[in-house]
Symmetry: C2
Subunit: 190 residues, 2 copies
Amino acid sequence: MSSTVLYMSMSLDGFIAGPNETPDNPLGDGGERLHEWPFPGTEGGMNRQVYDEFMSTGAIVAGSGSFEPAGGWGGDHHDGVPIYILSRHPAPTWTANWPAVHYGNDLEGAMRNAKRAAGDKNVLVHGASTAQRALTAGLLDELEIHLIPVILGEGRRLFEHLGAEQRELERIRVLEGEGGVTHLRYRVRL
Amino acid sequence: MSSTVLYMSMSLDGFIAGPNETPDNPLGDGGERLHEWPFPGTEGGMNRQVYDEFMSTGAIVAGSGSFEPAGGWGGDHHDGVPIYILSRHPAPTWTANWPAVHYGNDLEGAMRNAKRAAGDKNVLVHGASTAQRALTAGLLDELEIHLIPVILGEGRRLFEHLGAEQRELERIRVLEGEGGVTHLRYRVRL
């Protein structure tokens, strides 16, 4: 059965971007440190295994804050799988010729459509706001956190605005990646 | 050589206590969830290994916010090792007959005295404020984070008030403890 899986790189102190995020500085100051691990992606390594895994998902649900600063991944994140973008604004005109890209702000609908499109494959979920909304709505099945061996000190946190609700997780995998990156996989207990 | 090692239990979302901490509710709402793992401490298990490790340290540096709500550990955390408590207030009178307990607010002096007292053993560092001060002052050698498979949503964070200074860590050990607790050990790179 298809699962919705959040894939996010996070510093040990919980940040997914550095401070001073702007359109020209989308990862914030120092935030690029969190995204070094998938490159060069040595064959046979743990980092490559995790990279290949999320590049084998069957659909994507992400926020416009992830999608737009990344140039919309050229309209094709991988293999032309459908991309559901959560946004309060309409799709920018530069996405008009990308048939795989679907804008909207209905998280539940996006997750349902993505699961249907993914078939037996998993759905790649990405972005801090999307993660928070999906957790709150009970629509996130699993989390794969790429824990980076760095303390950023300031920036944007992955886990915020969740309210005081205790959510139990089941640890299902720990992979010791190259460069000190630890890939932690959890299932959200319902 | 003796190292100063922070030992802290933390939720996946970075909290070391739940919300609404008070003297009567020192771990905050739901915070006890973070401290189940050392008990019952099965022989031969990973959790027991880590527990035995911090119970073999040669001195302690902690904040009064850790020490006082815990009843000052009866004046003896383990084996009568010296306990250096960082506090802006004088030692409470109920600690007067505990020779191992030393109050003060000089972090550098406490760390130096603790290292000297510990000899070849490590120094157990504990408490969020103490961790933040020690990291900022460059006086923390290692971190051992017991990552608990739970999202608390609100509470007190371990990593706060550190300023936008990027600190590189070296991952030196990952232990998959019982109950989904992952013990992550890092050395702070200077």
